[in-house]
Amino acid sequence: MIILECLTDAGLAAVAAVGFAAISRPTKRIAVMAGLLAAFGHMSRFLLLQAHVGIASASLWAGLIISFCSMPIARKCHTPAEMFVFPALLPMIPGMFAYKAILATLQFLNTAGTPEGQKVLASFVYNGLTAFFIMCALAIGAILPLLLFHREAPLGRALQRFGGSNNTPL
């Protein structure tokens, strides 16, 4: 059952990633690869959420996975890795948390001073902070592998020596 849910999640994430990326006019190769990466990343986040990991940590992990997997693809396609990572991250952008926080602010203006107001304020803080932390987690997850394994970084140089002449610039 969990496998079926997992695959549904991956499929939906892939469709969402490709569709949202289409607004930013990707090439066909970018769209296909981003769809695959999104499916993989979102599935891992789904599994982590099922295992009661916090949503920000799960997003960090998903971002890391997507970014790691994008590097060999980028090298092979001679395209910057961000071009695959950005669309793949799109289904995980905390858009709903962000506007729920703003809706809560609007409601708070009408309910200030009542017990209802406290609930709305808590909802604002929760949604706003969640949106912020997910956004940070995604960005850190996306950039960390690129920084660590960049051509000029120590780890990247070691990897290149290890991998031979595989030094296509990114």
Partner: protein, 272 residues
Amino acid sequence: MPQAVVAEHAAGLPVLTAKELIEFIQLFSSTLLGAGGQTTRVDRTACRIARAYDFEVELAIFPKHLMLSVIKPAAGGIPAERRTAVSSIVSGAPNFQRVAALNALSWAIADEKLSLEEARQRFNAICAVPTLNPVLLRFLVSCANAAFCGLFNGDITAMGLVFCATLLGFYLRQKLLHWGLDIKVTFFLCAFAASLLASLGIILHLGATPQTAMAASVLFLIPGIPLINAMLDILDGHVLMGVSRLIQASTLIICIALGLATTMLLMGVDSL
């Protein structure tokens, strides 16, 4: 005229001056920024191009303008030539194809030693690539948003509602932006229209999760790429650029929330 330049003239070789190069790099950088390139990438790309022609470049990037100096280094520390230009950044929609192609062009300039004329031709060709067919785009975005609704545990009815709402909202967005309406007003109107259509689910009690349908119906408007770019810019140390991109994206999200709030007010929906 310096000795070397005279010699090159005598040999019939075209001499590249900083004046010509700065025009190209200025256009290149502002296009790359407008297409949603990260600030660090723009900086690196500009340096790469300048170095291919034996020049140096210094770049200062502001939210709406960029300043750059192109320097011809010379022995002794005093540059042989220096030109500075300020240009405004044409803000446009993120365009992956353009960023990828411009990046490839910069490497081609560095590796294949393209002449400036050839580089300019290739640049124009990259900028002339047309956008995706609007009808296809509308369909893709609608599918994506319906799938997104599925990710938030919406049932099949909710997904159908979201599909229709997105189709309407995105059509409106394309038309209004085409007519040149302000982007914030456009986002407000699109969010209002999309959520109004999706709110039919709540009023007519369609399916088991009409609330999810309404909440997900406006998500196609969220400016995801600018948000990621903003966070990456801040992490890279381009804090000014990052914060300005973050504020621009947040403004749009506030417009979306206001559109949704208007629907909730009209339809008497208390919470999502």
